[in-house]
């Protein structure tokens, strides 16, 4: 019995040695390699990069929104300024045709200030000496 055991043990070793020596052959290795590389999907981003990507999108959106807001504000301010200028023209100059201040030319802001000062000077109220304080 022991001999049979020993015999089968030797048989086993021989058999295993034989089979392990037989290496399966990989045919079309290069084709398989190409196929594998083609099948590779895009690698998922690592966690940190995913967070960066998330914040990048949010910051980009915020930046675009702010730029839009600045542009909108700039455009609105300019149009308001133009309207104000027109108001000055109509209120101070056009409606008061006999105003002596009209002689002052109105080409820039400084002269508008001069015009305003002149208007104030001409329309100031002199205190009445007979009225009680």
């Amino acid at each position: 019995m022991k001999n049979i055991e020993k015999y089968t043990e030797i048989e086993f070793k021989h058999l295993i040695a034989d089979i392990s020596r037989q290496q399966p052959i990989l045919s079309d290795a290069e084709t398989l390699l190409t196929e594998t590389i083609i099948q590779l999907p895009n690698r998922p981003l690592p966690k940190l990069k995913r967070y960066f990507e998330f914040y990048r999108i949010i910051l980009n959106t915020a930046a675009v929104f702010l730029i839009g807001l600045f542009i909108f504000q700039y455009v609105t301010d300019t149009s308001d300024k133009r309207t104000d200028d027109k108001k000055i023209d109509t209120a101070w100059v056009t409606n008061f045709k006999d105003n002596p201040c009209k002689k002052i030319s109105r080409t820039n802001l400084l002269q508008y200030k001069e015009l305003y000062a002149c208007y104030l000077e001409n329309n100031k109220r002199t205190p009445n000496p007979f009225t009680k304080k």
């Binding site: 086993f12 089979i19 392990s20 290496q23 399966p24 590389i37 590779l40």
Partner: protein, 180 residues
């Protein structure tokens, strides 16, 4: 290829370099094919699983722990996929994996050699459970040592040894019955 080069290629692959990864595939594919073929005993299935191994490795490269050999990590993925494949065959009541069609393939000589190897392995291991077959293949056919098998399978040394003992016993019993 030395370990430093492998680690360099892995770090390049982690950054999405497919060319670096293709070098790794080229280097390891015959090793992985050997395991998948010996486990599944079918060339086509072995090739499919081998491709799945590399795709899975590519997707989970960030999970690779560099304290292990890259081959150990690939073997672990391959082992799990092979066990899943065998289980799926068992579920569909296919006790033997279908034979491949020789006439459809151009490389008949290679096919015949592979078929003979598959036949020999099948004859020897058809009575083993999937787990025993995996351990037997890793230990005796791939000739890996026990610590590496522990890393691959995650099983304890005692469990591996007892499974190997049972596998060995089953095979020697089979040899005895053939001799009688």
């Amino acid at each position: 290829m030395d370990n430093n080069k492998i680690q360099y290629l892995i770090s390049c692959s982690k950054d999405g370099d497919r060319f670096a990864f293709s070098s790794l595939v080229r280097y390891f594919q015959s090793k992985i094919f050997s395991l998948t073929f010996r486990m599944l005993c079918n060339e086509d299935e072995a090739k499919d699983v081998m491709q799945d191994v590399f795709i899975k490795a590519w997707l989970h490269l960030n999970d690779y722990d560099s304290k292990y050999h890259f081959s150990t990590w690939l073997y672990r993925i391959a082992s799990n996929l092979c066990l899943d494949k065998i289980k799926s065959f068992e579920k569909t009541h296919l006790t033997t994996i279908k034979e491949y069609n020789i006439a459809s393939n151009q490389n008949i000589e290679t096919e015949l050699i592979n078929k003979e190897i598959a036949h020999n392995i099948k004859q020897l291991t058809n009575r083993l459970s999937a787990k025993q077959k995996l351990l037997f293949t890793l230990r005796y056919l791939e000739e890996l040592d026990i610590p590496e098998i522990i890393d691959i399978t995650g099983m304890s040394a005692a469990k591996i040894k007892s499974n190997l003992y049972l596998a060995r016993k089953t095979i020697t019993n089979k040899i005895k019955s053939i001799e009688k």
